[in-house]
Subunit: 334 residues, 2 copies
């Protein structure tokens, strides 16, 4: 649905979108304009990841979502995205902004069932090897209530930059943030148009399901008939999800895994139990998430009264790209 | 081999042990004496987990191994044990020493391929819920070289204390550490005798394999003929490995998982690659590790030049008690 170059816009389709979701399309085009001017990637820009205001602290990202995209509570996938970017940026501040980093593993604890925007991560490098190829970073994310709502750690590795790719600075790595020039709807490149249309479709799903665009961008289409304690879903990868080198963003992969784990755990629950909320997850980024169709499979490993556990495998076009473990706890704050 | 009550000592067997490993038996009996006087458990005492000297910091454990048990580099399983205990103790300092805590998940990064004793963890509580039932803690472990060699985070949960179990304070929770009274070899309780004999047998394996008693206490017996990229091993659970409520200590479970993962990864390597060392692991403690026979099964998920990944399942008597993910990296410091 969001394949790249060559996807021509169908004028009738565009008109329908404009009638139903004019502000979503404008938000998506504004994200395209920010991506063009300031870098990062559409996914980060549409989620509302922006440079932290200069306040004496180190430069880095924060999550200030467009209310059209995330009108209420910030979903875990967006927290994971900004946490991953913040840790990676802390490492890049040490190894040099020109280096390409891969997140190898990430563990993230979700400390509040409801997260209110904005989300401000504070990340730091705990360790880096002598050759500056491997680093461990930690992050604490504070939300609007002023408390830490997520805390994580991740292992990052310096990677070669693929040929033909010119790595651009991240928005908070500019000394002076380039101005954003408006982009006309008719002036979108094919991959930009695909990202905008995917966002508009995500908004349609969000309205139908009572969720947010931010969640629906990474929403899986679930297979019916999965046995209790399992979940299986798929997602077509489009330019709305990929990073600067064409791979699905790491926080998005983590969030997709968490969603699959939550669905598997939810399929085992009885109605009289208190609802479970994500407690933590750990993810191994086995290989880049690039390709056409992503499939997530989750299996409950234990569903107890005090905690539930699920493991997840993500494949892209049949190739295993990531595995994760997620834990859930009763919503004691609820 | 280390079953508890009713295991009578065979005098001939004892004589053989004394002839070959007099100091190991003495070290093990000294660990029994410390366990009786100061609490914790034989496993922690034999590894050399002791109270940190009072220096103004919060009370907690450190790892100062008996050279008879860990003569050289400190194995990851011992680092995991003291890291787990340090984080749990930091939480107990907040929720009260009388509470029983379970480690629910633990993620640990191994930052140095060689760790020199002593290992001093610094742990702190990052978050605790209002009902004081769930907590997140972090730990940094510094070794003799003065650098952080392991860094982790863990989710801990307050648990009910099983009936008939009287929870004792941990050694560093005493205001005044009780004096250790010598224990005569002939005065051991059956479970203590079993722990001592298991330690002596571990020493025999350590000498034969060039490893340490600290590693051999949790060493698996590997099944032959496992396909490349997999490993399967088993271990009979004895009182040398169990904590105050009769479950295998959490750090030991993590370390057993790591050993299985390392064996699976090692089975895929070619000789001209630089050796891989543990980079990190994350573990889900699904349910207590109590029972007779523990089986670990590890599968490589990806073996690349820059990193290798394996997942592990631990069962006890056929029941899944834990799952983990481990990552390995080239030994760039080597």
């Amino acid at each position: 649905m969001t394949s790249g170059p060559g996807t021509g816009a169908d004028p009738a389709d565009q008109r329908r979108q404009v009638e139903h979701e004019p502000d979503i399309e404008a938000s998506a085009i504004a994200a395209v304009a920010r991506t063009r001017a300031q870098g990062m990637h559409f996914y980060g820009q549409i989620l509302g990841i922006t440079p932290r205001p200069p306040d004496g602290g180190p430069a880095g990202p924060q999550l200030v979502p467009d209310p059209a995209i995330v009108p209420g509570a910030v979903p875990p996938v967006a927290v994971a995205a900004v946490a991953d970017l913040a840790m990676g940026s802390a490492v890049r501040a040490v190894v040099g902004a020109g280096r390409r980093l891969g997140t190898v593993t990430m563990a993230l604890h979700h400390l509040a069932p409801v997260v209110a925007a904005p989300v401000v991560p504070a990340a730091r490098v705990v360790w880096i090897d002598e050759e500056r190829r491997h680093a461990l970073a930690r992050v604490d994310c504070t939300d609007a209530s002023g408390v830490v709502v997520a805390a994580g750690q991740g292992w990052f590795m310096a990677l070669p930059v693929p040929e033909s790719v010119q790595l651009r600075l991240l928005p908070w790595e500019h000394h002076d943030l380039p101005p954003v020039r408006p982009v006309a709807a008719g002036a979108l490149e094919p991959h930009e148009q695909a990202a905008v249309r995917a966002t508009v479709r995500a908004a349609e799903r969000a309205r139908a399901r009572g969720t947010s665009v931010g969640e629906e961008l990474t929403a899986l289409t679930w297979e019916d008939g999965a046995p209790a304690g399992t979940a299986r879903g798929s997602l077509r990868i489009g330019p709305e999800l990929t990073n600067r080198v064409g791979h699905v963003q790491g926080g998005a992969l983590y969030g997709i895994g968490l969603a699959a784990a939550a669905r598997a755990v939810g399929s085992t629950g009885s109605d009289d139990d208190s609802p479970l909320v994500p407690a933590d997850g750990s993810w191994q980024f086995l290989t880049p998430g690039d390709g056409d169709v992503l499939v997530a499979e989750a299996t409950v490993r234990r569903a107890g009264r005090r905690a539930a556990f699920a493991s997840v495998t993500l494949t892209v076009d049949g190739r295993e790209v990531g595995i994760g473990q997620f834990a859930f706890r009763p919503d004691t704050a609820g």
